[in-house]
């Protein structure tokens, strides 16, 4: 065999090894991601009741605790698990003044917190909490501006993202407008 063909054969073998490894990792990664998301027990966000206290008159009492669990049912380590909770408050207030004032509904974002877990080894489960105290609440309307006619509604947008298979695959789940009640 010519020397040039021997060099080519070596490079070809290296490329085959790369391609086959990448294909196996991708297939197992895809299969793992599907296994995780298709089992309702694997992603528990929220896992149980959300503790939520809100007091517009005394903002120091404001507190939220979202318990969650995540089970890595796949073949590889799951990395950069990022959980973000955005809390929205919908309330009624009067727009304008005097007898022509209109009762309108406004939604504002009063809390935006996140929690990151660097890695979850394969087959492991993590239980954690996303906590937020009064210092993390913002944008709270003045109590005098909240109309007693309209009920105050709290809704949470929950975002979960993670990467898999040496960061080759990434997924993100967005749960929008999840209703939260005061405890």
């Amino acid at each position: 065999m010519r020397v040039s063909r021997i060099i080519r054969l070596i490079v070809r073998i290296v490329l085959y090894v790369f391609t086959i490894s990448l294909t196996i990792v991708s297939l197992l990664g895809g299969l793992s991601a599907i296994t995780i998301i298709t089992n309702p027990d694997n992603i528990g966000i929220p896992d149980g009741d959300i503790t939520f206290t809100f007091n517009a008159t005394n903002p120091a009492d404001n507190y939220i605790n979202v318990p969650f669990n995540f089970t890595n049912d796949g073949y590889f380590e799951l990395s950069n698990l990022f959980v973000r909770v955005r809390l929205n408050m919908t309330y009624g207030h009067y727009s304008g003044g005097g007898p022509t004032a209109l009762n309108v509904t406004t939604t504002r974002n009063i809390f935006d917190g996140n929690h990151t877990i660097n890695s979850i080894p394969a087959t492991q489960t993590i239980n954690s909490n996303l906590e937020g105290d009064s210092s993390e609440f913002k944008n709270i309307p003045l109590p005098a501006n909240i109309s007693s006619v309209e009920p105050v509604i709290f809704g949470a947008d929950i975002f979960v993202s993670a990467s898999y298979s040496l960061n080759l695959l990434a997924f993100r789940v967005e749960i929008l407008n999840f209703t939260i009640t005061l405890t």
């Binding site: 010519r2 040039s4 063909r5 080519r8 490079v11 070809r12 490329l15 790369f18 391609t19 990448l22 991708s26 990664g29 991601a33 599907i34 998301i37 298709t38 089992n39 309702p40 992603i43 298979s165 960061n167 080759l168 695959l169 990434a170 997924f171 993100r172 789940v173 967005e174 749960i175 929008l176």
Partner: protein, 193 residues
Amino acid sequence: MTEQIDIMAEEDSFLEELNRDAKNIIRGIGFTAIYIITTMIIPYFTFTWVKELSIFGIVDIEMTQSQYDKIIFWILAFGLIISGAAFFSYSSPPQSIRGGIFALIQVILNCFYIWSYKFSGATEIQFDIVNFGFFYLNLQQMIITYLGIYFLTILLKVYDIVDFAVNREKIREKRMEKLRKAKEKKMMKRAKK
């Protein structure tokens, strides 16, 4: 007698050539079939399966119809071109410049095929979780890594073409020698009979 052997040798050489060409064509058809399965049929069924997956065991998720149609269109379009190029690439004689050029064209088409996953939106698939939210699957990193490997393969194919062009005479001599040896062997067998 010698005249008869000459006619037979001529017939043999014609049949051998025909046999070799037929072998190459069969090889081309075989590889075309492999490419049709791997670049068209498997991705088609995978995306059709993923389209209506059940998430968390309870909620149905749906890939938007327009995104699904776009992905399938580009995958089938490039898959078809790649499969066609595979026929010409694999039916060419081994170590020929023609084979080398078609192999290079095929690898470049493969790069476009992989890139079609990116521009058709298949690298970031969005699913609607009905009445709940969204689920996104991002495969961009994986596609980029595959493209890296394909880039190395392109270099290898360019190397092949240069090698086939530079060593053209040697390759031809070797091919002829191989044919001559095979012919001699046959003649010896026939003479023994």
